[in-house]
């Protein structure tokens, strides 16, 4: 069946996707709330930047991150000066890359969910004595819950399927940056088609299951909103 290195790659992929999704929830939720509610002139430019990974080749994202996070990049200088070394070719380097790469998949469903709530529930909460922060957690988040579920599944699945950014930013280090998609690439390069088949099948089944879960959730979501 799957070899140890295959399992190692799968485990690494899951860890990467879980960590990325968690960080994206924390970073993406306030960003989505701001994008959904602000009337600032920065709304459109920021929304465009968030969407960039949808259209940019992953290698371009990876390239810029490599430069920025590398020993001569601004972030690289910072991480070195606080004793973290440089991020490329480490697990956390991959996490940073994945967060950028999957950002639109987290922000857009949540933003859409927040927008569909409208101003009214927020105003109602204010007239009932709830502060803005209180309103966010007690009204906005519960009402946008279907959007959070969609965003979580999409971000997780999208990070699992990531290839170009990882290759540019993490290389191909077993146990550190050799995720499942890279492992499949290696199998094919080495003409190990049987191994590639097995791992590819695992990925296919996982992706299907994730999307199925999302679509099964949706009818309930429609009823609730």
């Amino acid at each position: 069946m799957l070899s140890d290195t295959d399992l190692q790659a799968l485990w690494l992929t899951l860890r990467l996707a879980a960590t990325t999704t968690l960080i994206l929830f924390i970073v993406g939720t306030p960003l989505a709330w701001w994008l959904a509610r602000t009337r600032s002139i920065w709304q459109q430019p920021i929304a465009a930047i968030v969407s960039l990974p949808l259209v940019l080749p992953p290698s371009v994202i990876g390239f810029y991150l490599l430069i920025t996070l590398g020993p001569n990049g601004p972030i690289g200088h910072l991480t070195q000066s606080i004793g973290l070394g440089t991020l490329p070719f480490t697990f956390w380097g991959l996490v940073v890359g994945s967060v950028f790469y999957s950002l639109p998949f987290m922000v857009q469903p949540i933003q859409t969910a927040f927008e569909s709530i409208g101003d009214r529930p927020v105003e109602v909460a204010a007239t009932l004595g709830a502060s803005p922060l209180d309103t966010f957690f007690s009204v906005a988040v519960p009402l946008a819950l279907p959007g959070f579920v969609t965003a979580g599944i999409l971000s997780f699945a999208h990070t699992v399927g990531e290839f170009g950014v990882v290759l540019m930013l993490g290389g191909n280090i077993p146990g550190i940056s050799r995720v499942a998609s890279v492992q499949i690439y290696d199998h094919v390069e080495a003409m190990e088609y049987a191994e590639a088949h097995r791992l590819a099948a695992v990925m296919l089944i996982f992706s299907f299951a994730a999307l199925l879960a999302m679509h099964l959730w949706r009818p309930g979501a429609r009823k609730e909103v």
């Binding site: 009214r120 529930p121 105003e123 109602v124 909460a125 204010a126 007239t127 009932l128 004595g129 709830a130 502060s131 803005p132 209180d134 309103t135 007690s138 009204v139 519960p142 009402l143 819950l145 609730e224 909103v225």
Partner: protein, 357 residues
């Protein structure tokens, strides 16, 4: 100090609000006008929901907004009932009621949750989700939710507008109970003359973001110079007392300052105070005391004022009956033939009155 001083300016591309008024600190004040007249915007300004409104708002001596800033909506001791359903769909009815009550860390709680539940008759709905409620039930819950925060000021934005007639009839009695049983001021936005006549003590009439009239209901409705577009519904409201019951003919006599009217008996006790509405179209004038007529209610009166009506064929005539005033709708031709003029003694015939309770 027991008043609400409100001065607001708000400019939007196709609309501007510019008002400066002092509202009474008790009773129901109706903000009345057509859609687009600015009544909802004014209510939202008072709630602090219009961020761009400049002005000054002093509620019973405490400043809620002035040039230095404003108190955020969630810190104002208000209850707000929105026009359409505004219940939180993710909470049960009880959860909705509790939402505000738990956050109302306000002293001098005048209305307990139980009282609000009882007042609106929604005890049997508590465990249900808003999804499964009828429009009327939802709006009753929304009103109870606004009361459960123990507000010092209740703001209601056309709470009946989204409902059909039977649902309106279902809720109106509850609103009248609010009026009778609560001692907090209520600002009530409406474009329905009928609701205003039933519920309001004071009226503020708005048009194009400006105030065109405000004052006690009875006086204001009897004014002829108002551009209030009551149309067919022009008329006055009288506060009356049931004076006598005639069992034989199933009539009751309602007394108002300076006169009385017979109307169909509705099983109301003698001494009960009732508000009645007399529409101008139900009042006619005669120069001589009518002899053989089917109309029961005939009073001597003096013509006080004459004004054009909504249709060029008609006039509105205000007459004084004792200490009260009635409006009569006449055709110009009749007025001309009878020689109706200010100061003329006439007889008013009142065909019907509408009891509001």
């Amino acid at each position: 100090m027991d008043t609400i001083e409100a001065r607001f300016e708000l400019g939007r591309p196709a609309f501007s609000l510019d008002v400066d008024l002092t509202l009474p600190g008790s009773g129901v004040t109706a903000l009345f006008g057509r859609s687009g007249s600015g009544k909802t915007t004014l209510l939202r300004c008072i709630a602090g929901l219009e961020r761009n409104a400049r002005g000054r708002l002093v509620f019973k001596g405490s400043v809620w907004q002035d040039q230095h800033g404003r108190i955020a909506t969630h810190r104002r001791p208000i209850g707000y009932v929105f026009q359409e359903t505004s219940l939180f769909p993710h909470l049960s009815v009880l959860g909705n009621l509790d939402f505000g009550r738990r956050r109302a860390a306000r002293t001098g709680r005048r209305i307990a949750l139980d009282q609000a539940i009882e007042l609106l008759g929604i005890a049997h709905l508590l465990p249900r989700k808003p999804d499964g409620l009828s429009g009327g039930e939802r709006q009753r819950v929304a009103i109870a939710r606004a009361l459960a925060v123990a507000p010092e000021l209740l703001l209601m934005d056309e709470p009946l507008a989204a409902l059909d007639l039977p649902r309106k009839q279902e809720i109106l009695p509850y609103l009248e109970r609010l009026h009778d049983e609560l001692d907090i001021p209520i600002l009530y936005v409406s474009h329905s003359p009928d609701e205003v006549a039933r519920l309001a003590d004071h009226i503020v009439a708005l048009e194009d973001g400006r105030i065109v009239a405000h004052g006690p209901l009875g006086e204001t409705l009897a004014r002829l110079d108002l551009p209030i577009q009551l149309g067919e519904d022009a008329g006055v409201v009288l506060n009356t007392t049931i004076g006598a019951i005639d069992d034989e003919w199933h009539l009751s006599r309602i007394d108002f300052p300076g006169g009385s009217l017979w109307t169909r008996d509705r099983n109301l006790q003698v001494g009960r105070k009732v508000r009645v509405r007399v529409l101008a179209r139900d009042v006619s004038l005669a120069l001589d005391e009518p002899g053989r007529t089917s109309i029961l209610n005939i009073h001597p009166a003096i013509v006080e004022a004459i004004a054009p009506d909504s249709h060029p064929a008609q006039l509105l005539v205000r007459v004084q009956v004792g200490k009260s005033r009635l409006l009569a709708r006449l055709t110009r031709r009749s007025a001309d033939q009878l020689g109706i003029r200010v100061g003329l003694p006439v007889f008013v015939q009142v065909k019907s009155v509408a009891l509001m309770d």
